[in-house]
């Protein structure tokens, strides 16, 4: 395998509290301490660029198996690379769902075949995602699962949630919960409040999220299990996680770009690209999510990348599915809405996109540039200004709310396992 020297960049590796100009060496698919006296086979000139551990997205939907018209593991993992993401954890709400060892192995295999970003499966909490019986968590782990969730829907049954939090302790893996009390969101398509009232659209109250977060934190407390609150979106939920952490409960949380960059008044256009679950909330909620990111109540940034084919998504709001694509806008929206306004520094943002995510998924060789770690590296052009164009996204689906947005920051070179798999403007970059 050719050696690579990434030279002259600002190396930010939060796993070692490193932020300094320097070189990163790669040999045999691993991060190397230095060149060993030999010139590198390939030199990446990173002057003026940021060199970070490969970004990890703990929350994506790649739709395979079952809904390959929306996305496949190959197209989703390619979109990840274009967004600077070297590792994705994909949610199990496929058809059929990832609730057996064989199903998890299929995802791993398809990821290896694609040779794009690394792909890890997240297994179901319940068999068939039906919320009744616990899935075979141990066999899922044997198949490669790095966490458990029934995402798309919550584990509504408190008894099941309690047992899952208890049982998963034997693997030290997290239960990722889509926090929503379904009885409060029936018929809802957007946040409940002034805007939903004005538009006559069915509302999903913030309390539906808050109540489930409160319940599950308490369950994590009594079980000692690891609870991860997915796509946190309300002010109260952020506060609950903050309190839980203060009390020493094992709870973590993630936030998605749309929940810190968009508010529910966007629905006034009735554009289904603003329909997702949890829904866009109010400006107060956005401020609280940003505050939670600042004080590390929310330690992870991720996308909830949810591709939907045009014919499914471009429909009346009641019929359009929830969700938006996000892999290719994660980095620029983080730059323009968190870093540039001064909410987070570059090292803070990169920490939430790398080592914190690796720790969540128990991936000790990911999310770091420590010598010996997997050579997954993202070189970022932090100043590059560009315009998001839905039609030019690599994801198979184009359902982005950011079409036409002027943004800053983009992946420049993306290395996975010691191999340059994406270069902006390169032969593999059609954009």
């Amino acid at each position: 395998m050719p050696t690579i020297q990434i030279t002259g960049g600002r190396v930010i590796d939060p796993s070692r509290d490193l932020d300094a100009t320097g070189d990163v060496w790669i040999r045999d698919g691993k991060i190397a301490p230095d060149g060993g006296g030999e010139p590198a086979d390939t030199v990446v000139d990173a002057r003026g660029l940021i060199v970070a551990p490969g970004l990890i997205d703990v929350h994506v939907h790649l739709r395979e198996p079952g809904q390959e018209e929306d996305e496949t593991i190959a197209t989703g993992a390619a979109a990840a690379l274009a967004g600077g993401v070297t590792t994705v954890a994909c949610m199990p709400n496929t058809l059929p769902p990832i609730d057996t060892q064989a199903a998890a192995e299929f995802v791993v295999l398809q990821g290896q075949r694609a040779r794009q970003a690394n792909v890890y499966p997240v297994g179901c909490v319940s068999k068939g995602r039906e919320g009744k019986e616990m899935a075979t968590l141990g066999q899922l782990v044997a198949g490669g699962a790095v966490a458990f969730t029934d995402d798309g829907a919550p584990v509504s049954n408190a008894g099941l949630m309690r047992r899952a939090l208890e049982y998963s302790k034997m693997f030290n893996l997290v239960i990722m919960q889509h926090c929503q009390v379904m009885e409060l969101t029936d018929g809802g398509v957007m946040n409940e409040g002034f805007e939903s009232t004005r538009l006559g659209l069915g509302g999903m109250p913030a309390a539906a999220e808050d109540i489930m977060v409160a319940r599950d934190i308490r369950l994590a407390e009594i079980t000692g299990g690891r609870l991860h609150v997915q796509h946190i979106s309300t002010a109260r939920a952020v506060e609950l996680v903050r309190e839980g952490k203060k009390r020493g409960i094992r709870v973590t949380a993630e936030a998605c770009p749309h929940h810190f960059s968009l508010t529910d008044d966007r629905l006034r256009t009735f554009d289904s690209n603003f329909k997702m679950n949890p829904p866009l909330r109010t400006a107060e909620d956005v401020a609280a999510v940003i505050e939670g990111l600042k004080d590390d109540t929310i330690e992870i940034l991720c996308t909830d990348h949810a591709p939907h084919a045009r014919e499914k998504k471009m429909r009346e709001l009641d019929h359009a599915p929830f969700g938006i694509v996000g892999l290719e806008t994660l980095l620029p929206i983080t730059v323009t809405h968190l870093i540039e306004p001064g909410h987070l520094t570059w090292p803070q943002a990169i920490r939430k996109l790398t080592i914190n995510a690796a720790n969540l998924l128990n991936l000790p060789r990911k999310g770091t540039l420590r010598p010996g770690a997997d050579a997954d590296v993202t070189v970022i052009d932090p100043a590059l200004a560009w315009t998001v164009e839905a039609a030019r996204l690599r994801s198979k689906s184009k359902n982005t709310p950011y079409d036409g947005w002027r943004v800053r920051g983009r992946a420049h070179t993306v290395i996975v396992g010691g191999e340059i798999r994406y270069a902006l403007g390169g032969a593999d970059d059609v954009a």
Binding site: F194, R198, L201, F270, M314, L317, H319
Partner: protein, 320 residues
């Protein structure tokens, strides 16, 4: 006509679609009402027809049943000499394969100038307006808006009261799920009326106050202040969803009865968008009584829809 009239208020209609009253200016609403007054005369002729829209095709695209609204639009189009075609579709059958937009594009391929769209989902007409060339008239989209109903209510109030300044109008009943309520709110507020929303808390969201309306739960407390009461239809399935405990209890609090009318202003005007549930929202003697303008509303609905069809059939300067 050599000399163009130096109109007292020179006004030019520029919109291609009528999607809601929220987006209309006071001037635009007034222009529609003024023009509707002119069309009202046509309905009184023995030959109830003018040639204005000869050769134009109006499609009624209804994804939800509504015989009244559809008939009113059809008749309005026919009085303007347009050709009218109905297309009714069951949303559930459409959702299986062909999308709603495909359906509309198919219809457009047959030749269509104006589409009158009724759909159970808020925003569906907006979505359509981005995908077809025809002018779209929103004939009711879920709980969002029903602009021509709002306009005909405004016309009925203006005819009875002369103007909106200083007028207090109560909307009564299920505000949360009512497109008629929303169109009324936008129109009335723009024209200067005070609006009270009255009903049980489960059907009248407090957040409506942010629009500039008063929210009240007890009809008897506000009725003496009202010049107009617009009685919205109550849908019985709301009771099944637990939004109010029983129809009987609802009627006890909110039905317009002779006793209640007696305690109101002498010239109280009562509107109801229909179809009404006699004995639930209104007693029969109130529905048929002197204060009721229900049949005027139907008459005015025709004139308003003629005016809207007339304006939307003009060439849109922006589209050229």
């Amino acid at each position: 006509m050599t000399a163009e009239p130096s109109d007292p208020a020179p006004f030019a209609w520029t919109r291609k679609h009528l999607l809601g009253l929220e987006e209309l200016s006071r001037e635009e609403i007034t222009a529609i009402l003024d023009t509707a007054e002119a069309f009202s005369e046509v309905s009184n002729r023995s030959r109830k027809k003018v040639p204005a829209l000869q050769g134009r095709i109006v499609f009624n695209l209804f994804f939800e049943n509504s015989t009244r609204t559809r008939t009113s639009f059809s008749l309005a189009a026919k009085r303007l000499s347009a050709d009218v075609q109905d297309f009714s579709a069951n949303v559930s059958s459409i959702s299986k394969g062909e999308t709603f937009i495909d359906t509309a594009k198919n219809i457009e391929a047959m030749g269509c100038d104006v589409m009158v769209v009724r759909h159970p989902t808020p925003g569906a007409p907006h979505l359509l307006s981005q995908h077809v060339q025809s002018s779209i008239i929103n004939a009711g989209d879920g709980a969002h808006e029903h602009p021509t109903q709002g306009l005909l209510d405004l016309m009925t109030i203006r005819r009875a009261k002369g103007s909106f300044e200083g007028l207090t109008v109560a909307l009564l009943g299920d505000i949360a799920h009512s497109r008629v309520a929303r169109s009324n709110i936008w129109g009335l507020l723009k024209l200067g009326a005070k609006v009270i929303l009255c009903g049980p808390p489960t059907l009248v969201p407090r957040s409506m106050e942010r629009l500039g309306c008063e929210v009240a739960y007890h009809l008897d407390e506000i009725l003496p202040r009202c010049d107009v009461v617009n009685v919205l239809r109550i849908q019985f399935e709301r009771q099944q969803r637990g939004l109010f405990p029983s129809v009987g209890e609802y009627s006890q609090f909110y039905m317009m009865t002779r006793e209640r009318v007696r305690k109101a202003k002498d010239d109280l005007l009562i509107l109801a968008p229909g179809p009404i549930n006699r004995g639930v929202e209104l007693t029969p003697e109130v529905a048929d009584g002197d204060h009721s303008a229900i049949l005027d509303q139907v008459h005015n609905g025709l004139a308003v829809r003629m005016a809207v069809l007339y304006f939307l059939s003009g060439k849109n300067p922006d589209a050229e």
